[in-house]
Amino acid sequence: MHPTSKTAEQAVEPSLGPVTSLEVTGPSGLGRKWAGVFLTPSALLIGVFLVFPAVWTLYLGLTNFSLVGFAAAHPTFEGLTNYKNALTDPEFGNSLLITLIYVFGSAVVGQVVLGFAMAWRFKDWRSPLRRVVEALAIIAWIVPGSVVAFLWISYLQGNIGPLIEHGTLDVILHISTNWFLQFPLLSLIIFNIWRGSAFSMMLFNGALQSVPPSYLETAKISGASELQQLRDVVLPRIKGHVLTDVLLISLWTFNDFTPYLITAGGPNGQTETLPVFVYKVAFQQGDLGYASAISLIMLVINSVIAVVYLRMLRARSQ
């Protein structure tokens, strides 16, 4: 454009050239058209399997659509009736309370505390015992839900065929307790702590690596006890990791369906977490519209949890 001033301009702002070309071709250097072409397949997949079902659920929640019967063929639009029903349904309220206890007990307290305790304890261990315990924790985490469900039924309940007549724990302790009848929710909470702590342990293993050893050593030489070291040096340093961990495992536990495989919501609805409740309403009672509405409420609760944690994360980094 200005051939005479070109060299002077380049000397002052050498980035001028590349920036203008970036606007034309985009950061990939492909140009908008080609970028769009490459994006289409993944956008289609996301649309078909993620966006459409979500919108479909939103729609179903506003109808009386059901699994069988007249409403299966000719669902009618009901407006917000399903949502009103849910908010006044004592079964839904009870299920929400059970879910919150399950999430708080097994995830927020259980897995975070046990996971951190393991990571902290193992931090300076070089013995093979550490590898063994870590491997066992990780196995509990990666084995499929149906398998661990079977394991825990045989551990606490027994009564599955002639080989496993009594629960293993009862055999060890020489007692006869029906754990799932007497302590249904507590049993599930302990099960989920056992199952999921490995994730927190691994996450905190990494987090503790980010605490420079000289920080802890300075605290130790200054006379700090272990609790003071955790409070003054470790936790402020890994706060972000803790929040991330709590967010992820809260959401996973909130939506966890494994309890159904163990207790199927029983006895008498005492372990009926929301995912189990939705399953029961949709496929046992056949009320798909109502189940969709509850699913959407779950999505809202999940979003609220996520937003709260993200706010806390952002507040921390400021």
Binding site: I221, S222, S225
Partner: protein, 380 residues
């Protein structure tokens, strides 16, 4: 205030590496003691064992007359400054400085007062409410120093506290450390791989290698009378010239040149006259001359390096490479053929097999060392 004594300390790591091998030393009350050595020599391990951060495999440690070998760090009443300063990033400078007081549950007002008091002496007053991330390297270093001083410990431990600073700041911080030590007179053990730091700061220096002490003494002794070939090669900003030589009855023969000895060599070496030795002399004490003088050897200039006010000249001698530091007024050129002499009274002699120092005095009588320096006119 406390003296430190270490007795036959050995440390073998679980992987079998022997970091310390039967080390014994004592540090006087109020002394500035430097542990100097190349990386991996065990100096940091020794410091960490003093702090209680590592357990020794065997041996005892006494601080202030108290056996602390089995005590955890918190029971030893020591303060340590790390290479990375280890300032807690989420605390202000004042909170960092007063952290040792917080641990001991001292109230907030007292903590603040103490931080102001100690920090003030180190020029930290305007920085008290800043976070470490907002400080320069030198300021962080002073904050870490203030924290160590606020602790009221009996022993200061420094782990290469200056090595993260750039050259100019390092000099300033070195002077500051020296001044602080003169003021508080606190027993200090200082680990460094930088010999100029050790020589400048310490009352006594311990040179370490492969987990053992090679020489312990005041900086001047370490510098001028290295106890063995390792120390001779390690100490000095330019490496010492180590020249093969032969001990005669009253002379040392270097490349065919006879250098007279003060005491007959055969006598002082217990009848070892005629044996091979290593003669060590610092490049700073070498002289270059255009003409042959008694006690000088012919050499050809290979490389000339500018050191600022002086030049380091590397020459190829008859038997070995020779280095000399010459003033900026008389700089030879590569290819010049000169005669390298020395102030031989500054030379040290070593047994080539054991590496140990041989106590031989070079004569200052018949051919005074100054005579070697005559005729320094160089051919250009």
């Amino acid at each position: 205030m406390a003296s430190v004594s270490v007795e036959s300390l050995t440390k073998v790591f679980p992987n079998g590496v022997k970091a310390l091998d039967d080390v014994s030393l004592s540090v006087d009350d109020g002394e500035f003691f430097a542990l100097l050595g190349p990386s991996g020599c065990g100096k940091t391990t020794l410091l960490r064992i003093l702090a209680g951060l590592e357990p020794p495999s065997s041996g005892t440690i006494t601080i202030g007359g108290r056996n602390v070998t089995r005590l955890p760090p918190r029971g030893r009443n020591v303060a340590m400054v790390f290479q990375d300063y280890a300032l807690f990033p989420h605390m202000t400078v004042a909170e960092n400085v007063a952290y040792p007081l917080k641990v001991h549950r001292i109230d907030k007002a007292t903590r603040r007062r103490r931080a102001e008091e100690v920090g003030g002496g180190l020029g930290l007053t305007p920085l008290m409410d800043r976070r470490p991330g907002q400080l320069s390297g030198g300021q962080q270093q002073r904050a870490a120093l203030a924290r160590a001083m606020a602790a009221d410990a009996v022993l200061f431990l420094f782990d290469e506290p200056l090595s993260n600073l750039d050259a100019r700041l390092r000099m300033e911080a070195r002077t500051l450390l020296k001044r602080l030590h003169r003021e508080v007179r606190k027993t200090t053990v200082y680990v460094t791989h930088d010999q100029s730091e050790a020589l400048a700061l310490a009352d006594r220096v311990a040179v370490m290698d492969h987990g053992a002490l090679r020489q312990v003494g005041p900086p001047a002794e370490i510098f001028h009378h290295p106890g063995n070939l390792f120390v001779a090669g390690f100490i000095g900003s330019t490496p010492m010239n180590l020249l093969p030589a032969r001990m005669l009855d009253s002379h040392v023969l270097v490349a065919g040149e006879a250098i007279p000895l003060g005491t007959p060599g055969g006598e002082s070496l217990g009848g070892a006259a005629g044996r091979d030795i290593v003669l060590a002399v610092r490049p700073e004490y070498m002289t270059l001359a255009a003409e042959r003088t008694p006690g000088s050897v012919p050499a050809e200039v290979e490389v000339v390096e500018d050191l600022g006010t002086t030049y380091l000249v590397t020459l190829r001698g008859p038997d070995s490479t020779i280095q000399a530091v010459v003033p900026e007024t008389r700089v030879p050129k590569p290819g010049d053929r000169l005669f390298a002499g020395a102030d031989w009274s500054r030379a040290s002699f070593y047994d080539p097999d054991s590496g140990e120092r041989l106590e031989v005095a070079v004569s200052t009588g018949p051919t005074p060392p100054t005579a070697l320096r005559l005729g320094n006119k160089l051919s250009n």
